[in-house]
Structure formats: C-alpha cells, structure tokens
C-alpha cells in the first residue's frame, strides 16, 4: 500500500473581485493531480511560486478539503478520516510563523507534545534529544522571538519530529535559510530518510530536489507536467546543451530576438549580483554561440560556457518561458 496516494486531486479558490459590482472569481490551484509515494520514499514536488505545491501539501496534511478527486495518507482518506491521519504525520510550512514567539523553545515543544497527546515521560527525554538534533540545545530556554530565521526553522523541524511521525510533509523547509543552515537542513532530511520516514518535500530549488529526492513531480499551474527520477527528468534535455553567457543588462527585445533564432529551445535569465547569466538551451551546442554573440552585439558580454544540462535546465524546459531567479 502506498504511504500517500493522490488521485485526480483538484482544488479551487474563490475570490471576490470588484467593490460595487462584486463578483466571484474561481482560481484553479491544483488541477487533476495524481501520484503515489511509497513507504520510506523521499518524493519531491518541484515547481515555481504559485504552482500549487503548498495547496497540495495542505490537502494531504488534512488542513484543507479538496474540491475534487481523492487523497489517502497511510490508507486513510484526508477528508473523512483526518483524525486517523493526524497522529501519524508531521508537517512544516516554510517561514518563521507557526510558533509561539513569546515562549521558549522548550515550552513550545512541551505544548505541542501535549497536543500530540504524548506520554509525559517520553516527552521529557524526547525534547532534549530533538533540541540537540537541531542544534538548539544551548538556546532551548530562550524566547523564540529572539531566534534567527534559521533557528526558528530548526525548531519547526524539532516540533514536527516530536511524536515520531511516519509521514513528513516538508513544504519549502529551506526557504530563507542561509547556505550553511540550508545545508544542515538538507542533511537532517537525509537522516530522516535513512530512518525510513516517508517524506514529501516541496521546493523550487532544483539542486535541493536533485540532491534529496528519489522521484520528483514537476508541478506548474496546478498540474503535474512530469514525474520521474532526477536522472529521468534530465533525459528531457539530453538532446540539448546549455550555453551560459555572462551579460550585463539585457533588454527584453534582445531576449525575444534570441528566442526567435533557429535551434533555440529556451532562454532564461539569472540575476547574479552585479551581472546576469543568460542560460540558452539549444541542440546546436557550441555551434549556436556565433548567432548568440551576433544577437548580443549591443550588450556587454563576459564569459561564455557550453555545458551539459542539469535538472534545472530540464525544469526550465518543462515549465517553459523566461524565468528570473
């Protein structure tokens, strides 16, 4: 039996528009999503902001009722059997909120342990263990309001592990963390997977999905547009090379001109401090470089590198369009 089973899941949001003549607009956040996650698997949902990742996780964590389709966690329906699911899952939503800032980390954990109806004797041993695990052992008595974002995120991890859940929903757990904290978080996720936890991780960081997940569902505009292993997803772009050009301020018209060149599959721009990196996907490889240089003749250009595609390039091709990171 899969640990998570999602069939044709759909979620609509209704929003009011207008002031005098008000009308209701329906927005489809999750549209006909289906996937399964096996026990002990680390499954990733990868997609841009607003793709439907968090909405999907909230439905699976029993916090939101689907508008259509069905979802089961550990064999129980997320709508009608939420009470059976809640004691056996843990969830984190990226960001600092969701903790009692006026209380200490220890008090936060004591409270959530009671809410999960844990045995007080188990709680006494579990809290120091988890604070040690997330590196907050020496700060446990301090109020959370004085914590950095990374410390709050680590406390969230401790909170979600309190009752030793079988299934974990980690929604963008590394968002806003500095590189060292993000690396530690990824190591914690890997450690949890080594303990045979079933993990559903959402992220829009490609390297994170690549490094952690056994399978990845790429989600965009509420739909799963690809579902495969990281290696399988990279095959979507194995016919391509990526030309990475260092540029300084590229006009939109120039980007449009490059996109219109023959043999150009996708173009994306990444902002990197004072400069930008233009990533061009093309089956022509280095043969496309002269045409690109010609198109960029009015732009200051730095280093040019032709390389093999990564998961990020597969993602850009799947999601399509120009993305700016």
């Amino acid at each position: 039996m899969p640990a998570i089973e999602v069939k044709n899941l759909r979620r609509l949001f209704k929003t009011n528009i207008g002031v005098i003549r008000r009308s209701i607009k329906e927005v489809v956040a999750v549209d006909d999503v289906s996937f399964e996650v096996q026990p002990g698997e680390l499954f990733g949902l990868l997609g841009p902001n607003g793709a439907g990742k968090t909405t999907s996780v909230k439905m699976l964590a029993t916090l939101m009722i689907p508008s259509g389709g069905s979802a089961r966690v550990l064999g129980f329906d997320v709508v009608d059997q939420a009470d059976k699911i809640r004691p056996r899952i843990g969830f984190i939503f990226g960001g600092e909120r969701g903790l009692y800032w006026r209380l200490s980390a220890i008090d936060n954990l004591r409270y959530f342990a009671a809410l999960y109806q844990m045995d007080p004797e188990v709680t006494k041993k579990r809290i120091p263990y988890l604070l040690e695990l997330v590196g907050l052992a020496d700060r446990g008595k301090e109020k959370v309001e004085g914590y950095s974002r990374g410390m709050k995120q680590r406390l969230h991890i401790a909170r979600t592990l309190l009752h030793d859940p079988e299934v974990l929903f980690l929604d963008e757990p590394s968002i806003g963390l500095d590189p060292v904290a993000a690396r530690e978080m990824r190591q914690t996720v890997l450690d949890l997977q080594a303990q045979k936890k079933t993990i559903l991780l959402t992220t829009h960081y490609m390297f994170e999905a690549d490094a952690l997940c056994q399978r990845i569902g790429v989600i965009n505009h509420g739909r799963i547009i690809a579902l495969d292993t990281p290696a399988g997803l990279k095959k979507h772009v194995q016919d391509l090379s990526v030309i990475e050009i260092e540029v300084f301020g590229v006009p939109t018209a120039t980007i449009d001109r490059i996109k219109a060149l023959p043999g150009i599959d996708a173009v994306s721009i990444e902002n990197r401090d004072q400069k930008q990196a233009m990533l061009v996907q093309s089956p022509r490889g280095s043969a496309a470089v002269p045409d690109l240089m010609s198109a960029l003749r009015e732009v200051r250009v730095g280093a040019v590198v032709v390389r093999e595609p990564t998961l990020e390039d597969a993602y850009v091709r799947l999601v399509g369009g120009i993305s700016e990171a």
């Binding site: 960001g95 909120r97 969701g98 109806q117």
Partner: protein, 264 residues
Amino acid sequence: MKLDLLKKYVRVAALSFEITVKSTLVDGFILFGILFQPLIIAMLALWMLQDRGGEYAIFVVVGSGMTGLWSTLLFACGNSITLERWIGTLEMIIGVPTPLQVIVFGRNLANVLQSLLSMVGSYALISIFFGYHLTIAQPLLFLVSLIFTVISFVCFGLLLAPLFVLNPDVQRWQNGLEFPIYILGGFLFPIALLPGWTTPLSYLLAPYWAARALHVASSGGDINEVFLSWGVMLAFSAIYILVSGRMFRLVIHRARVDATLGMQ
C-alpha cells in the same frame, strides 16, 4: 470518554493554561483590560456613588471586577481562535489529534482566572487608598458564586470564540459590546434602574446571573437569589458547551473548505 483520553485532555488544558498565562503576562492590552480599566471604573463609580454610603463600596468592588471579567471574556476568550490564526499557529493546532475545543478551554480558563485580579485590584484600591472597610456578607456563598462565575464565563468564551470566527460581522461589534453588557449585566447599578423592556435581555446573559449572585453574596440579601443564580449559570454553561461543540466542528470544517486556517 475513556479515562486515559480524559487525562490527556486535562494535560492539554493545563498546558494551554500555562502558556496563556506566560504569554498574557507580557501583553499590555490584556493587562490594561484586567487591571487598569477596572480600577479606573472603580474610582469613577466610587466618586459617583459615594453619597450612597460606605456599604456601597463592596458593590463597586464586585461590579468593577465584573467589568474586568467581561472585557477579558470579550477580547481574550473571544479572540482565542482568531489570535492563533494571526500568529500562524492555527494550522499547527488543527493538525494535531487534540480537539480545538479542549485547547481553547484551557486558554479561557487562564484568561478568566487572571481576570479575577481585577476584583483583587479594586478591593485593594478601595480599601487601602480610599480607606473603606470592606466586608463580604456571605464569604462562603461568595466563594462558590465566584467558582460558578468562572465556569459560566469559561463556557461563554467557548461560544464566543467560534462565533467570532464564523461571523466576522459580529466581531466588528466587539468594542461596542463592552459597555452595553456592563449595563445590562447590572455590574455597577441594579438593572431595576433600566427601562423594563431591557430586563429580559439581562436574563439571557450569564454575566447578569454571575453579577447577581456575587452582589447578593457580598452585599447581603435573599440567599435564595444566589441559589437561583447558580442554577441558571449551570444551565447556561451546559447550553454553551453543547452549542459550542457544534460551532467548533463547523468552524474547522468551514476553514478547511474555505482555506482560511492560515494567513499569508
């Protein structure tokens, strides 16, 4: 309910109580409602009613204390679910196996017990600073009335919290609900001074019966009135618990449908 589950719920309520006390001790708004506002009301009432004689002072102590209880009920207990949503913890506590009603019960108990400080503060102010000799006519009846008051207020809070979430229009009237209940509840003067048509409204309010029991027990009067008030408070508490159970389920279901558990 199994004894084991009951123990777990008691533990949750106790920890909810503890964290509420720890949080509100540093909350200026709540402390103002519990301590300073009732003291201001006590001083004003004492100056206005001093021609009625010294025996009226205990009435003012109880009445101003009741204003602190009601303000706490209205704002702290009434906002107990909304506050969790504002600070982003509502999703976390809905996603646990413990019913929200148990969590809110512990929070309300802490808020209501803390608000009794307003009565203690008024007592100290009037006896120490104004020099009145304060005596409670029926101390035992007063103590039991206080316990019934706490029970009925905690249960009333269980009704207000989901009501304010289900109907934000009602919550918009929150500030406007403070003084009318002071008056209809007969906190600082008898409701007999009000127009006759308002009396049925007072009878529908648990705070009125709480004030009536406490006033009679402290100032003296027919003790049968105290017993009647206890009975009505218990009946109201039972009704509040039954109705609030349905409202909590409705709140959670609607929030899961409307996706309003979290705030972005």
